[in-house]
C-alpha cells in the first residue's frame, strides 16, 4: 500500500498534534416514515410531540449554561435563536393542529413543517436570511432525534483519545462535545475561520479542516494522527510514524514548558532595549491563550467576528459588553480595538458586485459610507474604554482626509455619549493601521494627527508588490524582505519617532524570526502576533543585541534584492535555545 493513500491533506486550523482513534460523526439519520395514528391515539401522539419539544428546549438551556463559561455571547445567541424556533406557534401549534387533523405521526408532520420553513427561507434573496436555514435544520434534527429515539447523544467517548471526524460541525455539535474525550477534529468542509476552527483554537485542540473526503475515507476506530501545524492527517499509520509523532508531541510539550518559563520575563534585548510583545486576537475565548503566553497586551483585536455571527448587525450593547470583558480581563495592559475591517462582500444584507474586493469598498471605506453603523461601534469602544486600557485603531487608512473623516465621527460619537452622561474614556488614544503604500508614504503627515501607528505588513506587502499572498503561482513575489517593503517600513517607523508617537507591527512579519529581528533593528516599539508565537519571539529578542541589529539593518536597506538582504542578515539572527520552527517540521 502506498503511503499517499494513508495521508490526507487539509487546512491546518488549530495547531498541535493529536493521536487517537476516529469517531465518524454523521448527523444524517434514517428517513422519516409516514404512519397513520388511530383516532384514540391522537392525543397521546400530541403529548409525545410536546414532550420532545420540551426536552429539546431543556437541552438548549443546558447547552447555554454549559458553554456560557467558555464561549462567546455570539454562540449563546445561536442557541437562543433555536429556542425561539421551538417556541414559535407556526412551528409547534401548527404541528399539533396537523397531527390532530391528519391523524399522522408527529415526526412526519414536524418534518414537513420544518421543511416548509426551510424552503421559504431558502428562496429569500438576502443571503443573511437564507443562512438561517442551517439553524432550522439544527432544530429540526434535535427534535426528530428525540421523536425517533435515535439518540442524539452527540459524541460520547471515554478516554480523551477520540479524533472526531465530521463533514462539518455545527455550533450545537461543537458545544456538545465532551472536551475531556476529544483530542482533535477533522472536517471535510470549512476554512481557517470556520466555526470548527475557531472553537478548536479556543479549546486548544488540534484540528484540520477542509479535507473534502475525511468522512468517506476514515472509518470508526481507525488510528489517526492529526498534525494541526501542517494540515496533514495520517490514517492507520505504521508503528514508526506513530512513534515519530509521539516523540515530537512530547518534545513539543517539553518545549511548551520551557517557553512557559519565559512567561514573566520582559521582551528586552541583551543591551537593554525593551519592546512590547502583544497578541492578535479575534475572540474573547482566546484571552486565556493571551495570558498564558505572557503577552504585554492586545495589539490587535479584530472585531469582524461580531459581525459575522448571527444574522443582524451587533448592537451597541452587545459590542460594549464584549469589549468590556476583554478590557477588564487585560487591565492594566492595553487592548487595541480595530474597527470593523470587512469587505462589503461579507456584510449582512447586501451582495455587492466588486470585481476586485482587495481594492474595493472595505475597512474604513465601508464604515465611512455607513456612518450610522460605524458610530454604533465607535460608541461601544468608547464605553468599553471607561473601564480598561483601551485604544482605538482605524484600518485601511489611505490618507489624511480619510483619517480626518474617521476622527470626526469618533468625536461625534464621544460628544453624544458625553451629552447623554454615559461614562467614556475622554482621552482614548487613536491610531491607525499603516497598510496601504499611500499611507506609508505620507506617514509624516498622518503621524501628526494620531497617537500611534500599527504597521499591517500583510496588506502592506501585498499592496506594495501587487501580489496576493494566497495565490501560489505568485507567492514568491510576496516577500517581506523585498527592499521596497523594508524601506517603506523603515520610513514609517522613522516618521512615527520623528513625531514622538510609538509604532508597532501587527502582521505576520512580526512573528517571523528573521523579520522580527529586522523590525527590532529598525526600531519598532511593539510587535503583535498570535499568542502562540509570543514565547519564541520573546526568546529571540532576549538573545538579541539591539545596537548590532540597528547598525546592520540600516546597512541592509541599501541592498537591492531580497536575496542579498536575507543572505546579509541571516548570520546576525541571534541563536536561541528554543527553535520551535525546526521542531514543527517533521
Amino acid at each position: 500500500m502506498s503511503d499517499e493513500r494513508r495521508v490526507l491533506k487539509g487546512i491546518p486550523a488549530s495547531p498541535g498534534i493529536a493521536i487517537g482513534r476516529a469517531l465518524v460523526y454523521n448527523r444524517r439519520f434514517a428517513s422519516i416514515h409516514q404512519r397513520p395514528i388511530p383516532a384514540d391515539g391522537v392525543e397521546a401522539e400530541i403529548l409525545r410531540f410536546r414532550t420532545a419539544v420540551d426536552e429539546a428546549l431543556d437541552d438548549l438551556t443546558r447547552l447555554q449554561r454549559r458553554i456560557a463559561v467558555d464561549f462567546d455571547q455570539d454562540i449563546l445567541k445561536i442557541f437562543r435563536a433555536h429556542q425561539a424556533v421551538l417556541e414559535d406557534p407556526e412551528v409547534v401549534d401548527v404541528t399539533v393542529v396537523r397531527i390532530r387533523r391528519e391523524r399522522t405521526n408527529a415526526e412526519y408532520i414536524f418534518d414537513e413543517v420544518m421543511r416548509g420553513w426551510i424552503a421559504s427561507y431558502s428562496s429569500i434573496e438576502n443571503p443573511y436570511f437564507r443562512e438561517r436555514t442551517a439553524d432550522f435544520e439544527d432544530v429540526q434534527y434535535r427534535v426528530l432525534a428525540k421523536l425517533t429515539g435515535s439518540a442524539h447523544t452527540g459524541i460520547e467517548a471515554k478516554d480523551g483519545e477520540i479524533v472526531l471526524v465530521a463533514h462539518s460541525l455545527s455550533p450545537s455539535d461543537t458545544a456538545e462535545i465532551d472536551r475531556s474525550a476529544v483530542c482533535g477534529f477533522i472536517t471535510d468542509a470549512g476554512g481557517q475561520t470556520s466555526h470548527t476552527a475557531i472553537v478548536a483554537r479556543g479549546l486548544a485542540v488540534p484540528a484540520v479542516v477542509g479535507t473534502n473526503i475525511a468522512t468517506q475515507t476514515i472509518s470508526d476506530g481507525m488510528m489517526i494522527i492529526i498534525d494541526g501545524n501542517t494540515g496533514m492527517v495520517h490514517l492507520d499509520p505504521d508503528a514508526d510514524t506513530i512513534g515519530r509523532y509521539r516523540e515530537t508531541k512530547s518534545q513539543l510539550s517539553v518545549l511548551e514548558h520551557e517557553l512557559q518559563e519565559l512567561h514573566d520575563l520582559p521582551a528586552e534585548t541583551r543591551d537593554g532595549r525593551r519592546i512590547e510583545l502583544s497578541a492578535n486576537i479575534e475572540l474573547p475565548a482566546e484571552l486565556e491563550d493571551v495570558l498564558n503566553h505572557g503577552a504585554d497586551g492586545i495589539g490587535l483585536y479584530r472585531t469582524e467576528f461580531l459581525y459575522l455571527v448571527g444574522n443582524e448587525l451587533p448592537s451597541e450593547e452587545d459590542q460594549t459588553r464584549t469589549y468590556q470583558r476583554i478590557a477588564r480581563r487585560m487591565a492594566p495592559n492595553h487592548v487595541i480595538i480595530r474597527t470593523l475591517d470587512l469587505g462589503a462582500d461579507k456584510m449582512p444584507k447586501e451582495m455587492p458586485d466588486e470585481a476586485n474586493p482587495a481594492l474595493g469598498q472595505r475597512g474604513i471605506r465601508l464604515c465611512l459610507d455607513r456612518p450610522e453603523m460605524f458610530k454604533v461601534q465607535l460608541r461601544a469602544i468608547l464605553r468599553a474604554g471607561a473601564e480598561g486600557n483601551v485604544s482605538l485603531m482605524f484600518p485601511m487608512i489611505s490618507g489624511l482626509q480619510e483619517l480626518r473623516r474617521a476622527k470626526a465621527l469618533f468625536e461625534e460619537a464621544r460628544n453624544e455619549l458625553l451629552e447623554d452622561g454615559v461614562p467614556v474614556n475622554q482621552s482614548m488614544p487613536v491610531g491607525i493601521m499603516v497598510e496601504i503604500p499611500s499611507a506609508a508614504l505620507t506617514a509624516h503627515d498622518l503621524a501628526k494627527e494620531v497617537d500611534f501607528f500599527s504597521i499591517g505588513t500583510n496588506d502592506l506587502i501585498q499592496y506594495t508588490v501587487a501580489a496576493d499572498r494566497g495565490n501560489p503561482s505568485i507567492a514568491s513575489l510576496y516577500n517581506p524582505c523585498h527592499p521596497a517593503v523594508l524601506r517603506l517600513v523603515a520610513s514609517v517607523i522613522d516618521a512615527a519617532h520623528d513625531n514622538d508617537i510609538w509604532v508597532g507591527v501587527c502582521g505576520a512579519m512580526a512573528a517571523h524570526p528573521l523579520a522580527a529581528c529586522i523590525l527590532l533593528g529598525l526600531g519598532v516599539d511593539e510587535l503583535s502576533m498570535s499568542p502562540i508565537d509570543i514565547p519564541e519571539i520573546k526568546s529571540l529578542i532576549r538573545s538579541a543585541d539591539y545596537q548590532e541589529l540597528k547598525t546592520i539593518t540600516r546597512e541592509a536597506l541599501d541592498l537591492s534584492t531580497s536575496e542579498e538582504i536575507m543572505r546579509f542578515l541571516k548570520p546576525h539572527q541571534p541563536k536561541t535555545e528554543l527553535d520551535v520552527s525546526d521542531m514543527m517540521r517533521i
Binding site: A84, V85, E87, D88, P89, E90, V91, W117, I124, N126
Partner: protein, 72 residues
C-alpha cells in the same frame, strides 16, 4: 431587542389574532419565523390586521411600539 422580536413579543401578549400582510402575503404576527421573513427586506410597508376580544388594546400596543421604538 430587534423590531421583529419586539413585535412578536407584543403580539403574543394578546388573545386576538394578529396578522401582518405584505405584498398580499399574510403571516402570523406571533410567529418569529413569519415576521422575520417579512423583515427580510426592511423599509417596506405592512398592514396589520387584528381580530379578537382584546383587539383594541392590541392595536394600541402595536402602534405604540412602532411609534416609540424606532431602533436603527
Amino acid at each position: 431587542m430587534r423590531p421583529a422580536e419586539q413585535l412578536v413579543r407584543t403580539a403574543s401578549r394578546f388573545k386576538s389574532e394578529v396578522t401582518l400582510v405584505k405584498d398580499d402575503i399574510p403571516v402570523n404576527g406571533k410567529s418569529i419565523l413569519g415576521v422575520m421573513m417579512l423583515a427580510a427586506e426592511h423599509g417596506s410597508s405592512i398592514t396589520v390586521e387584528i381580530d379578537g376580544p382584546d383587539e383594541t388594546d392590541a392595536l394600541k400596543a402595536i402602534t405604540d411600539m412602532f411609534d416609540k421604538d424606532q431602533e436603527p
